[in-house]
Amino acid sequence: MNTWLSQLKYLVIGTIFGIIFVKAEVISWFRIQEMFRLQSFHMYGVIGSAVMVGMLSVWLIKKFNIKTLDGETVVFHPKKFNKGQIYGGLLFGLGWAVTGACPGPLFAQIGVGATVVAVTLLSAIAGTWVYGRFREKLPH
């Protein structure tokens, strides 16, 4: 089940993923600025081709009923629409362009030596907590 050893594979996948993040420069504040100022195709190419490969993989998994390594059926979690995707999406977009990072890149930025990003990460955790605390009062 959830043994420490079985979790290590996620550490390995995350590590490879982190290396790709850095080498693709998608964790770069400059690349994010280029994207939102329409000055480069790079980020659009990365996200677009990632979605294409993701879509094709999911289609293949469903089409051929490919099982997990443990022989389980792959489970997909349908998302329900709520207004949070609009309000929250806009707020995250503002944060993405100012910090030059989504949640994943925050961890990678700290890794490449921008230690002060730990403050940004703590602030993001605080933001998540405040959302959780006031969730009932927010429009969804």
């Binding site: 979790q7 550490l11 294409m52 792959v74 993405w96 100012v98 605080a126 933001g127």
Partner: protein
């Protein structure tokens, strides 16, 4: 060119993008996990400061894989930032160079602009807004939206979820507003 020099170059989008996309099937097939990173911030809250908030009252240990995954991203950053770092620095669009030079930003040796994101800058209004304010928006916004670039834009679109398309469009609108309308003001502070 030896292999290390080769790996130190930045990777083009058509290599990096498909590799990032492959994370979707890898996580699904290795452990039936849906790709998503912002949930890790929620699990950290649930583990460290649940404070009897219902939203943080769940068995986060069942989702611990996500914390190992982001731990890996940090480790990957360390490896790529030391062994595989590009000695040439960033090469960015000349238009961006011109725009940023107006604000005195001209150091491209790192992926993160050291002139904006550094410890002393935390004491300035500009730095505080960008690092603390921006971080808060990232954490609050992703949870409110129910996901971030990985959960909505990549996993959500890969599984043809229309709420994820709405969220992704809103991420982009927010980003365009910040980068073009608000950020110039913040940078000039």
């Amino acid at each position: 060119m030896d292999i290390l020099t080769f790996l130190q170059q930045p990777w083009p989008w058509y290599i990096a993008g498909p590799l990032i996309g492959l994370t979707v099937p890898v996580l699904l097939l290795v452990g039936n996990k849906s790709f998503g990173i912002s949930s890790s911030l929620r699990h950290i809250c649930a583990a460290c400061v649940p404070a009897k908030v219902p939203f943080f009252d769940y068995d986060w240990k069942k989702e611990a894989w996500n914390l190992f995954f982001v731990g890996g991203i940090l480790l990957g950053g360390i490896i790529a930032g030391t062994l595989l770092a590009n000695p040439a620095g960033m090469s960015v669009s000349p238009k961006l160079v011109t725009e940023l030079s107006q604000y005195g930003i001209n150091d491209y040796h790192s992926l993160v602009p050291v002139q904006l994101f550094n410890w002393p800058a935390l004491l300035s209004v500009r730095g505080l807004l960008m690092m603390v304010g921006g971080g808060f928006l990232v954490g609050f916004g992703t949870r409110y939206a129910g996901g971030c670039t990985s959960g909505h834009a990549i996993m959500g679109l890969s599984t043809l979820q229309w709420p994820s398309l709405v969220a992704t469009i809103c991420f982009m609108i927010g980003g365009f507003i910040m980068a073009n309308l608000i950020l110039p003001f913040i940078l000039s502070l």
